[in-house]
């Protein structure tokens, strides 16, 4: 995979403080186009908080976020999605009383620009755009092999497929950068195996992925680069092999004593 060197996303000394607590403290990282970058760290390290700052849910106390060269920290979530960055959630947040296809169609909200007048009088512009978007939604579901659930409601789908619908919804926003928040959480081994090949297929389609994940097996095999965050601070970055042997990472995850066992387990993952 050739990776053009100009970064699609660059974060400079990003930090945020809730009252006295420094949830994220001076984090720097960058993501290049077409890469799969993982952010790992123990629970409560501040990973999801980073995601929330990237997507405009929280305003960082300081630091900049450059997306495709443009500063986006402080922008509203709507503008960030429109700019081309979409996310999924740690615990699935699909619209359970809307059909699967409607969920995906909702993803296209920012890029379906017919106005109130068009939709009331079914003007040609409305008909053309609506048909286009519905076709695109069906195609996305087909691509993700979810089109059989087209008319169905998300709550009736198996867990793994619900995850994929959430990703389908993120893709529908025409985003180039997908932020996946623990997609493998709650999956059994072959489901996460299938997810692995699925994410790889996304990259071949031209998406760039940033991943938060605890499933070390998935992370070590899929990531191009890994950043490790602990107590809100970046403690390590680099290729999967480097991270596996990095002292600080092991200490952060497992604490002092059992240093040795951690090493063998990683080698033959």
């Amino acid at each position: 995979m050739e990776t053009k060197q100009e970064p699609i996303l660059e974060v400079k000394n990003l930090s945020i403080q809730f009252g006295g607590l420094k949830a994220v403290d001076d984090v720097n990282f960058k993501v290049n186009r077409g890469e799969i970058v993982s952010i790992i760290g123990p629970n409560g390290a501040g990973k999801t908080t980073v995601f929330n700052m990237l997507t405009g849910v929280y305003q960082p106390t300081n630091g900049q976020i450059f997306f495709k060269g443009e500063e986006i920290q402080g922008k509203t979530p709507q503008n960030i999605v429109k700019a081309g960055m979409a996310r999924t959630f740690q615990n699935i947040r699909l619209f359970c009383d809307m059909r699967v296809i409607q969920n995906v169609l909702l993803g296209m909200h920012t890029n379906t620009d017919y106005n109130f007048f068009d939709l009331v009088f079914h003007t040609p512009k409305y008909r053309k755009l609506e048909r286009e978007k519905q076709q695109k939604a069906v195609d996305i579901l087909k691509f993700l092999d979810l089109d059989r659930y087209l008319h169905d409601y998300p709550t009736n789908l198996p867990y793994g497929d619900q995850r994929k619908v959430e990703i389908a919804r993120a893709i529908a926003t025409d985003a180039q950068l997908l932020l996946l928040d623990e997609p493998a959480a709650g999956m059994n081994p072959e489901e996460s195996e299938e997810l692995l090949s699925f994410i790889r297929s996304l990259v071949t389609k031209g998406f760039t992925i940033v991943l938060i994940e605890h499933d070390m097996n998935l992370v070590m095999n899929i990531s191009d680069r890994i950043y490790v965050i602990d107590h809100g601070r970046k403690i390590a970055e680099g290729l999967p092999q480097e991270i596996a042997t990095n002292k600080d990472v092991i200490v952060a995850y497992l604490g002092e004593e059992e240093e040795e066992d951690q090493l063998e387990e990683v080698e033959h993952a």
Binding site: F18, T48, N52, V57, F89
Partner: protein, 292 residues
């Protein structure tokens, strides 16, 4: 003349506080606005009226009976209508709509049983009036204020100092954790409903004794004003409800005096909307951050 308005306003306010406390108790424990609370207040007043008129029990015993009956009624309502929803983990809106339904059932049942006409209610604490400076003080007013203050202190004592009070505060903080610690959450919730119903019954009897009139529709407007008071003080907080009640009572009696009789109800609603917009958590409430 101002002092007279202040005193009248305080009497009104202390009773609104007594009703508002009911809202805060239930909201604290369940995060639910009990819309049927206004109708409960009217229910309590009617029970007291029936007991006083049809039997020779004094007003004191009538109120005691009304407190017990109303408390049981609210517990029954919680048991039949609200507990199944909690068990079913249904959406918050369902519980709110259920209480709206209950308030309509109670109010219209009162109208059918007691007829919709206003009925007489004996004067409470009727020992004549006396003058302090140019402020005319009725014995009824003094009686109402003392009873209300005693009841509010009793409620605060129960919540702060007793075992069940501790359980209530635990459920208020985190119902799931409380149940893990062996607290029977449903029992605590129904006890809270009992307290809410009881305080509403007393408030209903006191107000009817003060104005010597009882009417099935009295609960609707009074309930709404008491809710404004509870929100103003910070819903879920007892002393907030008391403070809010006094403010709404004073505002209403000043508006009626200076602007005109037609505006007395409007004042409470305007306070409600203004508070909801600028400080939804009220004066004593704290900001709640929604975790992603």
């Amino acid at each position: 003349m101002i002092l007279q308005q202040v005193f009248d306003g305080l009497t009104l306010g202390i009773v609104y506080a007594l009703i508002a406390v009911g809202y805060s108790l239930v909201f604290g424990v369940l995060r639910l606005v009990n819309f049927a609370h206004g109708a409960t207040y009217a229910f309590g007043a009617h029970i007291a009226m029936v007991v006083v008129v049809s039997t020779n029990f004094g007003l004191f015993w009538a109120i005691i009976i009304s407190v017990i009956m109303t408390g049981l009624m609210t517990m029954f309502m919680d048991r039949i209508a609200l507990r199944p929803l909690r068990a079913k983990k249904s959406k918050g809106i369902s519980a709110l709509i259920t209480t709206i339904g209950c308030s309509y059932i109670i109010q219209n049942a009162l109208m059918i049983v007691f007829g919709s006409r206003s009925k007489w209610f004996p004067k409470i604490f009727d020992y004549g009036n006396f003058q302090i400076g140019n402020v005319l003080v009725k014995s009824t007013q003094v009686g109402i204020i003392t009873v209300s203050v005693v009841l509010l202190l009793l409620l605060t004592f129960i919540v702060q100092k007793t075992k069940i009070g501790l359980a209530m505060r635990a459920v208020q903080q985190n119902a799931k954790a409380a149940s893990l610690m062996g607290i029977d959450v449903n029992r605590v919730i129904s006890f809270t409903f009992f307290l809410g119903g009881a305080s509403a019954a007393v408030a209903g009897s006191l107000i009817s004794g003060y104005y010597q009139i009882v009417n099935p529709q009295m609960g609707f407007i009074a309930g709404l004003k008491a809710f404004s008071a509870a929100v103003l003080g910070g819903i879920g907080i007892l002393h907030g409800a008391v403070f809010g009640g006094l403010v709404v009572g004073l505002a209403e009696s000043f508006a009626a005096f200076y602007i005109g009789g037609g505006y007395r109800d409007a004042v409470a609603f305007i306070i409600l909307i203004v508070v909801l917009i600028f400080r939804p958590n009220g004066l004593f409430g704290k900001k709640v951050i929604e975790k992603v």
